[in-house]
């Protein structure tokens, strides 16, 4: 046996085997994706089949009732809307101001690192913890009771870290050339932020806020602690009235033994999904428009 042949013998012909393991990996990836999509499709289909028949104008405009067929979402829809308004009114200005301060005023260093790490951690805290905070601070300590205001503030605090992080990212995406151009003309930092940085970052900030809000209105856990999980057959007259929101209403109906209530819970889930998808669509449109408008 020549030396060259002996050398070749030391290499196993493995291309076929290597290709096979590549195909196997691809198959696993397909399977994993398919599993996720399948689960989603089954859930959606199940919800649609159960819930679609219950959807009607009357369903959207009635109060809950002891009878499933007379029950409606009005209180929950209006409550969700008010909570969303409170969240935007509170979390949007505080979040943007914090982000501007962190991004434009604090120079990189230990202080900024500590703050950013903590905000990042807060964004990951389970929402029920925020519910407990809301219960302790707003409901008890500030004696707001189980009111719309207490619920709105709790959700606002829940989304605040997310709003800050999103706004910081939007601010960071503003090219530094824009700031330099403004400073070079003798603008102060505030003028630079107000006239150039914020307008350029606004679409990104809005997108982030809408996404945060869409997460917020789907949250049931913190509100379970805050709202009185009761029969709310009226609309809140003031910020200090009791309230309910869509996820809570769904939670209540699902917990009932009668199948008829499970069906209208499915209808309510469809309404909630439509709201969330609409909000996300608006966010995507805003983001795309911002991308097209910016040509740096």
């Amino acid at each position: 046996m020549s030396a060259a042949v002996a050398e070749r013998m030391r290499w196993r012909p493995t291309v076929a085997g290597r290709r096979r393991s590549g195909r196997l990996f691809l198959l696993l990836c397909y399977a994993a994706t398919a599993l996720g999509i399948l689960a989603l499709v089954v859930l959606l289909a199940d919800t649609l089949i159960k819930g679609a028949p219950g959807l009607s104008w009357q369903f959207l405009t009635s109060y809950p009732s002891r009878f499933a067929e007379r029950s409606g979402l009005l209180a929950a829809l209006v409550g969700t809307f008010y909570v969303a308004v409170i969240v935007v009114a509170v979390a949007f200005p505080i979040g943007i101001a914090s982000a501007v301060w962190l991004e434009e005023y604090v120079s990189p260093g230990p202080l900024r690192r500590i703050l950013e790490t903590n905000i990042g951690n807060l964004a990951g805290v389970p929402s029920i913890i925020y519910g407990m905070l809301g219960l302790a601070v707003f409901v008890r300590a500030l004696s707001l009771q189980r009111s719309l205001l207490a619920g709105g503030l709790t959700i606002a605090i829940l989304v605040l870290p997310i709003v800050i992080i999103n706004a910081q990212e939007a601010l960071r995406a503003v090219p530094s050339g824009l700031r330099h151009a403004s400073f070079a003309l003798g603008a102060t930092r505030w003028e630079t932020i107000r006239h150039h940085v914020l307008p350029a970052a606004l679409p990104g900030i809005l997108t982030g806020t809408i996404l945060a809000l869409s997460r917020a209105i789907g949250e049931a856990a913190p509100i379970i602690l805050i709202s009185s999980i009761a029969f709310i057959a009226f609309l809140p007259d003031s910020l200090l009235d009791s309230f309910t929101i869509l996820p809570i209403q769904i939670f209540i109906w699902v917990s009932k033994p009668q199948a008829a209530f499970h069906a209208i819970a499915a209808s309510a889930i469809i309404v909630l999904l439509v709201m969330l998808l609409t909000m996300n669509a608006v966010a995507i449109v805003l983001r795309d428009r911002a991308r097209r408008g910016v040509g740096w």
Binding site: P108, L178, A181, A184, L185, G186, A200, V294
Partner: protein, 274 residues
């Protein structure tokens, strides 16, 4: 005044002894750091009034750091620190009483990459006068500035269009018009043509020569032909291994290019390194 079509004469003719010229900036032992890294060491020279002063040197020699010391734009970079003195009309701009906002109002700056605001052509030019409290006729200022930057004829029908819709060369002239609108006394240009094609570059160079009659101009360039074409005086910087820039030679551009005093200058301008 000379006709606007005047050929860009070699302005170096106008300078014999820089020490006799009236000064805008005096740099005395200027050193600069970014964090622990020293970017400039002990720079001393004077920048004269109504002349074009070029700062040349290879990449990383501190040219940009130096020009950005003149309007304290380096302050925006965290960790930046300067030592020594830079005076602007005899006032120490790094002194305790100095206000960078006021300083920049008198010192215009044009950047490497054209950076118009994502606003209309008109608002780009009007922003500076607006924030600086100009109360006169804004249209006149905008038109005048755009004419000075030789851009008016190209944009007069689209003042409402976005500044970003212009070509690269037009954007850079828009940035020059924007800087001129606040009636500065000095124009700092940090490699203003490096992102432009040769024709746009030629137009900017023509403009610089034209503006030099009324403004003191400092231009950073890595293009030696450009320095020799547009500048009256040239400062040559060089950095060693540790990337700290030092001033090798400063003098009338023609002298520096024809009979450099330092052999490193000669090596650089003849293209032996850099």
């Amino acid at each position: 005044m000379v006709s606007a079509m005047r050929a860009p004469e070699p302005v170096a003719e106008r300078v014999s002894d820089p020490a006799k010229l009236e000064r805008v900036f005096e740099l005395r032992g200027l050193s600069a750091w970014y964090g622990a890294a020293q970017a400039l060491r002990n720079i001393t020279f004077d920048i004269p009034k109504n002349r074009v002063t070029a700062i040349i040197g290879p990449s990383g020699c501190g040219k940009s750091t130096l020009i950005r010391c003149l309007d304290r734009m380096n302050d925006l970079i965290p960790g930046f620190r300067a030592e020594g003195h830079v005076t602007y009309h005899d006032e120490d701009i790094y002194g305790p009483a100095a206000d960078p906002v006021l300083l920049r109002r008198h010192i215009g700056m044009v950047f490497q990459k054209p950076n118009p605001f994502p606003k209309s052509v008109f608002d780009n030019v009007a922003f500076g006068p607006r924030i600086n409290g100009y109360t006169g006729n804004m249209h006149e200022v905008v038109e005048g500035s755009l004419r000075r930057a030789v851009l008016w004829d190209e944009v007069k029908d689209k003042l409402g269009a976005s500044g970003l819709a212009l070509s690269g060369g037009q954007q850079q002239r828009l940035c020059i018009a924007r800087a001129l609108a606040v009636e500065p006394d000095v124009l700092l240009m940090d490699e203003p043509c490096s992102a432009l094609d040769p024709i746009a570059t030629y137009r900017i160079e023509e403009l610089i020569t034209d503006l030099a009659r009324d403004y003191s101009i400092v231009i950073v360039t890595h293009n030696m032909q450009q320095a020799s074409r547009v500048s009256d005086l040239t400062a040559f910087l060089l950095a060693g291994e540790e990337r700290t820039g030092e001033l090798v030679e400063f003098g009338p551009t023609r002298d520096l290019f024809t009979r450099p005093a330092d052999e490193r200058t000669e090596a650089y301008i003849t293209g032996r390194f850099g």
